[in-house]
């Protein structure tokens, strides 16, 4: 029977099958992928449903002391599995027209399916070894997807793999330490073992786990792989990359800190302001990330790079919310994880479509596309309303929960940091939509492009509707979040009981009322305006106020692509834009490289007599050190 324990195999096998079968008939790959994603959605929703909690143990072909691989499902895994399944489906659909003519068609579908399978494996595994195995599979398969694109710089792929592998190995070290205390890799035994550890050990392993997951979530200072990797990876993979892969870091963090180690345990270690020390540090890292990344996003000219920095910033919110370890905080993190996935999928898919149609990926080369691509305009509009966290759509609900969680537990300074980032986000949201769709076209031929390919419409429309519905009925997601949190042992965080309202801690709001009021006023004014007034006269695009002159076709009028140039002059912001932590890593890399050169040239220098000398020296040192 297909269930959480073997759903992993479906995408992986399909991926390999698709690669080879597609050598005969190319479209088979798309078909197989679509079938696989539909099947996965079906299984996740119905077979491995919200209330199925099962544990399956595989004992085949393993060394004895591993005790077998375990898979299982609970509300928490289900929550993330739904996000993964639907991202898989939407990105499959979106990739059909976009990857169709690329030369790496086969490899794309091979690795994309493997990644999807690996993600499912991660959320369903219930022992440390299988968790790590699927984490590593995710790492290398996403690496190939990043470097597949011929425009990717070599450095991007290497930075990506080094950071992610280092993070994974940090995680492995922590797992091995835990194993040495627990005697087993299974989650339930691990939980008991943590209480046996000394304080410093608990701190050490939580530090290592944090490093592992923070790398995946691209939190500063471990984020430098992210902007390049998000920007340069294959356009149709980036939605999955930024929307879903980063959420695995969220899953892992909450899993390990919430359930396995327990926020209670690490709080007991070193406590500060009613939360654990490491949690507080990570929360501040999240705030710093969101502030710095937001300002960086504003000054970008490449579309995908702006969205990349925006992703880093938004996940920073999630990091802050969950690191402080309160129930409402974790709830806010989960809510925002969902909303952010939806938003980033929507935006990246739309942007991929725009780049595909126009062949340009910079704001300075686009503009004025609203008349040619109305659906995409709407999609991006919904996306930025969500990004900015504006009512009446879903982005506001999740931000509201995060703010409430911080206020409730008196983390005011963290909140202020978040507000800085949140307000600055309006700037890049506006830049995104203005640079592509509004203003004036900056290149030739833009006024003849078509709307994005039809396969993209389905994901766009569905994701827009999800954003709307979560805004109108903000309380609808709440029971799912609460079940997910029960799965990791947190108690209820919300006060609300209906789908229309969201209330917790200090207040609440009724999303349904908001949209009704807004809708009513809008309709009223619109009708009054359009019907009771004379029709407006349609003006030519160039017929604008231009100080008593008239601009012509060659006057550069697409001003808004330069938004962000003035940020340099604001002292703090300018300073943050100029500091780069890449310098630190580059210096470290140079140091290691230097040592390697020394070793290469001095030690292994090619002189046979020196080699003989080494042997003699070794013998002498053995005698000296060990002789009695």
């Amino acid at each position: 029977m297909i269930g959480p324990h073997n759903i992993v195999l479906i995408p992986v096998v399909i991926g390999i099958l698709a690669y080879f079968a597609g050598k005969l008939v190319r479209p088979v790959r798309e078909g197989l992928t679509l079938l696989s994603s539909l099947f996965v959605c079906y299984v996740v929703l119905f077979k491995a449903g919200l209330n199925t909690i099962g544990i399956y143990t595989y004992n085949f072909s393993l060394p004895q002391y591993f005790d077998g691989f375990r898979f299982g499902n609970n509300g928490f895994s289900w929550y993330f599995a739904v996000i993964i399944a639907f991202s898989y489906l939407f990105v499959s659909l979106a990739s059909f027209p976009l990857v169709k003519d690329k030369e790496y068609h086969g490899s794309f579908y091979l690795f994309f399916n493997i990644v999807a399978g690996a993600l499912l494996g991660i959320v369903y595994s219930r022992d440390l070894v299988s968790f790590f195995i699927f984490w590593e599979i995710m790492t290398w398969s996403s690496y190939f997807l990043v470097v597949m694109n011929p425009n990717t710089k070599g450095k991007t792929g290497l930075t990506y793999i080094v950071f992610n592998v280092a993070g994974a190995y940090a995680m492995l070290t922590a797992m091995l330490i835990v194993y040495s205390y627990a005697g087993s890799f299974h989650f339930d035994r691990v939980v008991k073992a943590v209480s046996l550890m000394t304080n410093s050990t608990v701190f050490f392993i939580s530090l290592l786990f944090a490093i592992g997951f923070l790398v995946k979530m691209a939190t500063m200072p471990l984020h430098i792989w992210a902007p390049d990797a998000y920007t340069e990876s294959e356009d149709s993979f980036t939605p999955f990359f930024s929307g879903t892969l980063s959420k695995m870091g969220v899953y892992g963090f909450i899993l390990f800190f919430g359930m396995l180690i327990g926020f209670v345990n690490i709080k007991g270690v070193y406590e500060i302001k009613d939360t654990s020390l490491i949690g507080y540090i990570v929360a501040w890292l999240g705030v710093v990330t969101s502030v710095f990344a937001t300002f960086r996003a504003i000054v970008q000219d490449e579309i995908k790079r702006l969205l990349a920095y925006s992703s880093i910033a938004q996940v920073g919110y999630i990091v802050t919310a969950m690191a402080v370890g309160t129930a409402l905080g974790v709830a806010g993190a989960l809510y925002h994880a969902l909303i952010h996935s939806v938003i980033k999928l929507l935006l990246f898919i739309t942007v991929a479509g725009v780049i595909y149609r126009t062949g340009k990926n910079k704001f300075s080369e686009l503009g004025g596309l609203i008349t040619r691509m109305p659906l995409s305009y709407l999609a991006v509009l919904f996306g930025i309303i969500g990004l900015a966290g504006m009512p009446p759509f879903g982005g506001f609900a999740s931000k509201w929960v995060i703010y409430m969680s911080l206020i409730k537990n008196h983390y005011y300074f963290l909140l202020i940091g978040m507000i800085v980032s949140s307000t600055a986000a309006f700037l890049y949201c506006y830049k995104l939509i203005y640079g592509i769709f509004l203003g004036h076209p900056s290149s030739q031929g833009l006024m003849e492009v078509k709307e994005v390919p039809g396969f993209l419409w389905v994901p766009q429309i569905v994701l827009m509707m999800v954003l709307m519905l979560t805004g109108f009925f903000p309380g609808y997601i709440v029971p799912f979040i609460e079940t997910a949190m029960k799965g990791i042992g947190f108690s209820v965080a919300f006060n609300s009981t209906s789908a229309y309202t969201l209330s917790a801690a200090l207040g609440g709001f009724n999303g349904f009322v908001v949209i009704n009021v807004l809708g009513a006023i809008f309709v009223f004014v619109f009708v009054w305006y359009t019907l009771f007034f004379p029709k407006s006269k349609r003006l030519h695009r160039l017929d604008i106020y231009w100080a008593a002159e008239t601009p012509d076709e060659n006057t550069p009028l697409h001003y808004g692509y330069g938004i962000g140039a003035e940020l340099d002059r604001i002292p703090w912001v300018g300073m943050s834009l100029r500091t780069h932590i890449t310098r630190f890593y580059e210096k470290t890399g140079e140091q290691i490289s230097g040592i390697a050169s020394v070793l290469k040239d001095v030690v292994f220098n090619g002189d046979g007599q020196i080699y003989m000398l080494y042997a003699i020296l070794t013998l002498v040192s053995i005698f000296l050190l060990m002789g009695r």
């Binding site: 004025g368 609203i370 008349t371 900015a388 966290g389 504006m390 009512p391 506001f396 509201w400 409430m404 206020i407 005011y412 909140l415 202020i416 507000i419 800085v420 307000t423 600055a424 309006f426 700037l427 506006y430 939509i433 203005y434 769709f437 509004l438 203003g439 004036h440 309202t501 200090l506 207040g507 609440g508 709001f509 009724n510 908001v514 009021v517 807004l518 006023i521 809008f522 004014v525 619109f526 305006y529 407006s536 006269k537 349609r538 003006l539 695009r541 017929d543 604008i544 106020y545 231009w546 009028l557 001003y559 808004g560 938004i563 003035e566 940020l567 002059r569 604001i570 002292p571 703090w572």
Partner: protein, 303 residues
């Protein structure tokens, strides 16, 4: 309260705001005129301007979004208005304020401006976009002390609901939040002046620099709607500050009185100071009002 009265109550909301708002703008021009030792236009001038613009036969449009821009602006402003109670008795003129809280109101305040920005974008005038950019950048500066002040309020009264805050300020002048958390009030005042468009923060629509800013390309009925919403928005902010810091108002006259007092402070500031550059504004707001707000916050945390 019967359904009929409730409907009248709700419909009256924006009109009260409109009338009082436009009136205030007219009075403002008079007072500033007197400060400048001149007469100033008639008090009803702004209302007359709006009606004149509505009566114009034609207005130029650059597209659908352009057409919708002012509409979204007014929608955003009025929606926000509905979530702020005008009177404190909980029966009349409370709008939908029981269905929303302070954070919702804060975000709804920005909704109108963003909608307008979209319309400006399609208009395609560089001056408009410049104005929008400057406005959004200025927002980064203004929101920080404002948010710090609200956080102090929320922490002090342990609620995020505006109605509850008004309730907790009952009992006379000394119970007003203005006096209970004075530093927060002072910090928020700077933001308030900025949001009202008082010099030195009147950056987005700076006439000598960006030719009216966002409003540049709009004319006729669009400009009328923009001016109306500007009036309503002004009144909205005044009411919000009165509710949060000055104990709300028990009836319309007290509301007018308190808002007028607050409004006068705006006028005094705007007529005296000259304009900042946008980066100076942000830098200023991040220094002094923020520090004052942070001190208030620390005091509140310690308590």
């Amino acid at each position: 309260m019967s359904t009929g009265m409730r409907i009248v109550d709700i419909i009256a909301y924006p009109f009260i705001a409109f009338l009082i708002g436009m009136l205030y703008m007219g009075i403002a021009r008079n007072i500033i005129g007197r400060i400048h030792r001149r007469w100033g236009p008639p008090v009803l001038q702004n209302l007359i301007d709006v009606f004149k613009l509505y009566r114009k036969r034609e207005a130029g449009s650059h597209g659908v979004m352009f057409h919708l821009g002012p509409i979204i602006m007014v929608t955003g402003v009025v929606t926000c208005l509905y979530f702020i109670p005008m009177l404190s008795d909980g029966r009349w003129l409370k709008g939908f304020s029981f269905d929303g809280d302070l954070i919702l109101v804060t975000y709804l305040m920005v909704l109108g401006a963003l909608g307008m920005a979209l319309g400006v974008g399609q208009g395609g005038v560089p001056f408009g976009v410049m104005g929008v950019t400057r406005g959004l950048t200025r927002l980064i500066g203004l929101e920080i002390p404002y948010f710090i002040a609200i956080i102090v309020l929320m922490a002090h009264y342990n609620t995020a609901s505006i109605n509850k805050i008004i309730e907790l300020q009952a009992g006379g002048l000394s119970n007003w939040a203005m006096f209970k958390v004075p530093l927060a009030f002072i910090a928020s005042l700077f933001s308030f002046w900025g949001m009202m468009g008082a010099s030195p923060f009147d950056i987005p629509g700076a006439p000598q620099e960006v030719a009216s800013g966002p409003a540049t390309e709009f004319g006729g009925k669009y400009l009328a709607l923009m001016m109306s919403s500007r009036g309503i928005f002004g009144f909205l902010k005044l009411t919000l500050w009165v509710d949060l810091f000055m104990g709300g108002a028990a009836n319309l006259l007290i509301l007018v009185g308190k808002t007028f007092v607050l409004f006068v402070t705006v006028l005094f500031v705007t007529s005296v100071y000259s304009r900042f550059k946008v980066e100076q504004a942000v830098d200023f707001m991040w220094r002094y009002p923020t520090i004052i707000g942070l001190i208030a916050l620390v005091i509140e945390m310690v308590r």
